[in-house]
């Protein structure tokens, strides 16, 4: 029975191939059978996690917190020099120029990406309309969020920065950035589950030397990463505390 790896469904489509190449590289390096399973959406992935079907996951900060606290996962590595940031965008022709001018009737297009939604809801707090759940259009992907804005079905849209940047040039020409987060300290993390935990050190060793490995460097490039960096338990705990702090909604 192979181990099963998955990736947070918010990865950009440009890098799907890169994850498959990474999986092949990983199997050869570790001499372990690993199957890569990519899920179309967060619900499918959560079900697989709930059913204990995942052993290795590249998780967003929000899901990583749950996996560490509730499922016994431990951190292995993170891509260096990266951080998860979010964008609130509007139609290029929108009259909205700043967050405070948004009213309670604002329609929001968004995905099910939990950390992006959390960050964007916090960015909306100055408008005092973030808890209004009535006007939310949950879309299956970021390009569909963009489409909802362009078609004027929604007033604002929530995006992961990488996802926004990977939209086509034509799509971006029809959109405008209203706000962009500047947190700097939240990022995706590669985690191992209880079944694969015994190989954590070996995995870490291979990942941290991947860039200097001839084949490894090419694999990293195909995933859009520069280098893996060690992710100690305490750094993970810090990020969990941070997610907890962001989750706290003052009345």
């Amino acid at each position: 029975m192979p181990y099963r790896m998955t990736v947070s469904p918010d990865f950009t489509p440009d890098h799907i191939g890169g994850w498959y190449i990474f999986n092949t590289w990983l199997q050869k390096s570790l001499q372990l059978p690993i199957h890569l399973e990519l899920y179309d959406n967060f619900n499918q992935q959560r079900k697989a996690i709930g059913d204990d079907q995942i052993d290795l996951i590249y998780a967003n900060p929000y899901d990583a917190s749950v996996l560490v606290r509730e499922k016994g996962f431990v951190p292995v590595a993170r891509p260096s020099q990266t951080s998860d940031e979010a964008i609130i965008a509007v139609n290029q022709t929108s009259n909205v120029e700043y967050i405070e001018s948004l009213g309670m009737d604002t329609v929001i297009a968004l995905t099910e990406d939990p950390d992006v939604n959390l960050i964007c809801d916090i960015m909306l707090e100055p408008a005092e309309m973030h808890n209004s759940g009535k006007n939310r259009l949950v879309m299956g992907s970021y390009p569909l969020v963009a489409k909802a804005l362009i078609n004027n079905r929604a007033d604002i849209g929530f995006f992961l920065v990488e996802a926004y940047q990977s939209l086509s040039q034509l799509t971006k020409q029809n959109l405008s950035v209203l706000a962009r987060s500047q947190i700097n300290v939240m990022h995706h993390t590669l985690l191992v589950g209880p079944q694969l935990k015994q190989h954590r050190d070996l995995l870490s060793q291979h990942l941290l030397t991947m860039k200097s490995n001839y084949k490894g460097a090419g694999v990293m490039e195909s995933m859009g990463f520069d280098e893996w960096e060690n992710m100690p338990d305490e750094a993970m705990e810090f990020m969990i505390d941070l997610v907890d702090t962001l989750n706290y909604q003052p009345e």
Partner: protein, 157 residues
């Protein structure tokens, strides 16, 4: 903690003396210049259990006007503004030392004597049942809440 220096101040200032809970004193130089809190910014910091800063993000550095080196190792009250009544912090230490979360609207003092308003949320970092420090995130506050605090805080001295 060092007193504020006139050469760091931007514009006309008045001098005030702050006395902190630990008995220490600091001369602060205060102007009436507000630095707007930019949409999307989140100020993140972490302290040890005694409230000494151990980690700051870039937004903290830019909004406070201090460098990272000047902040790390200092008590978090380096940002204390004399317009903040101690009563406004009532419950902060009680809550977080019990392991609870705390939030409040705070006027922070910049290195250049100016100020900025934040909605601060503080949570304790608990490791193996013990509080080892605190994580704080400061968000852009709703202006309506800031206006309420501007009216309320002077009545709490």
């Amino acid at each position: 903690m060092q007193d504020m220096e006139p050469e760091d101040i931007n514009g006309n200032y008045i001098e005030r003396i702050l006395i902190f809970n630990d008995g220490s004193r600091r001369k602060v130089l205060v102007t009436d210049k507000e630095t707007p809190f930019q949409d999307g910014r989140l100020i993140v910091s972490r302290t040890d259990a005694a409230g000494i800063i151990t980690h700051v993000n870039q937004s903290f550095v830019e909004m406070s006007g201090y460098s990272q080196e000047e902040l790390v190792g200092q008590p978090h009250y380096i940002l204390r503004h004399p317009d903040m009544p101690s009563a406004a912090f009532k419950g902060l230490w009680d809550a977080i030392e019990k392991g609870d979360k705390w939030h409040g609207y705070v006027k922070n003092l910049r290195k250049d004597g100016g100020y900025y308003w934040v909605l601060a949320v503080v949570i304790p970092n608990i490791r193996e049942g013990k509080i080892t420090g605190f994580t704080s995130v400061r968000r852009k506050p709703a202006r309506r809440k800031v206006e309420e605090c501007i009216d309320l805080y002077p009545t709490l001295f």
